[in-house]
Subunit: 254 residues, 2 copies
């Protein structure tokens, strides 16, 4: 087969975070496949077909893209952030593994991007400066007990925790439950960052102590970063918004 498929990370929204490698891959594609708002971020190009699908149909979209590639197309599957972090790349490989065996001879690539937690962290300082975990709070694809177990393990081992997909209209209670678990171990003053739509015109970033965080402050475009016990605020002399960072050292300063 001569077709080609690249899963491309567009980054969190600001076009200045789209890598040149991703731009090249987008420009050389014959077909773009993706969720509407991501496809809309890519400049139109004469002769390039755009196949827009709804959210939450990742596996169908992945199969469709593989089928296009099998017919000889150069397909770009567009994804927000980094495609390998709670985005389209895993769905493409799920579809590949369970699909037409001939698809395994396709040239399939992944083009990395800036994932939301990195952009959110950069906006406020360096909260991911120590060991950290990234978790999806969605229980659409895994049992809530698994989410709880992982979150408890991460908090007890004092990782910084980045939560993707914290809340949606179909999953209204999970973030509140997660914050309750975190508060069993982390102190009330632990810095928490709620970073919404980083790099987009409607960006909004809040830094709050854990005891003041409410689930209603997040939405499906928010990534939540919960500090470790060592995560610190540095007040600025001319602004109410502090820097937040996690020191590299832990325990006695080396």
């Amino acid at each position: 087969m001569t077709g080609q498929l690249t899963v491309i990370g567009l980054g969190p929204g600001d076009p200045r975070w789209l890598t040149p490698a991703a731009s090249e891959a987008l420009a050389s594609a014959t077909d773009l496949v993706g969720y509407g708002p991501y496809v809309d971020r890519v400049s139109e190009q004469p002769g390039q077909c755009r196949h827009v699908s709804d959210n939450r149909v990742e596996l169908d979209r992945a199969r469709f893209a593989l089928g296009l590639a099998a017919n000889g197309a150069r397909v770009a599957v567009v994804s927000g952030g980094d495609p390998g972090v709670f985005a389209m790349a895993a769905a493409v490989f799920e579809a590949l593994e369970t699909g037409n065996p001939a698809w395994r001879s396709l040239d399939i690539r992944v083009e990395p991007g800036i994932t939301a937690m990195l952009a959110a962290a950069a906006r406020v300082g360096a909260p991911l400066g120590g060991d950290f975990c990234a978790m999806s709070l969605s229980d659409n694809l895994k049992p809530w007990e698994v989410v709880e177990k992982r979150l408890r393990a991460a908090v007890e081992a004092d990782f910084v925790v980045a939560l993707y997909n914290p809340i949606s209209s179909a999953r209204p209670w999970q973030l509140g439950a997660a914050l309750t678990i975190v508060a069993e171990t982390r102190g009330p003053d632990t810095p928490v960052i709620l970073a919404r739509a980083v790099g987009r015109p409607d960006e909004r970033i809040r830094i709050l102590p854990l005891c003041k965080v409410e689930a209603s402050l997040a939405d499906m475009s928010t990534v939540v970063i919960i500090g470790a016990s060592t995560t610190r605020r540095i007040e600025k002399s001319d602004s109410d918004t502090p820097y937040v960072y996690t020191p590299r050292f832990y325990g006695a300063r080396a």
Copy 2:
């Protein structure tokens, strides 16, 4: 104070992974500060001063950069990968917190980059497709007991684990010890990715079952990604190198 300091992520090495935002920040700097090999990656620019320092003097370098900015310079502190992930951003905020209080009125920013685990994951498929942790195996700045505790917690909760700084001549045994801990819980066939110098001419990527991984296969330019219990290989029909991915679903398929 009118000085400005930006900590800039250069990505893992391929210049096509350097974001336009990072390029702009580099071009507008009066002074570049960084570890030699990173500064060497930036094109020379007339009138721009380059301040090269040795590795492992991050805090001194950060203080020097803040001092330059306090004198009115526009300083770019260059960092490999993403500066907020086991790189220079946390060191700059440590130096800020413990340094001259006047530095707190400086304009300090962080420009994100593609961190090594994202580039490594993209090369092989989507191994970070589920929940994952990123840990530094260095015990220069934290006790080894903390590393062990976190690693055990991450493995027992079935996170994918990305290990940064796995080994160096001064830290020869830590990776072997970590692999032993992982093998207490993860099966011998668990896919492990050893990704060295991703995006650079000397890139080398190996995919091995856990039972075949030896610490000597890694060096200080390697990031090690250890699969979760659900991480899978997909054999290609025309290559010995499989894809590796972690499905989004966990347990019974939703």
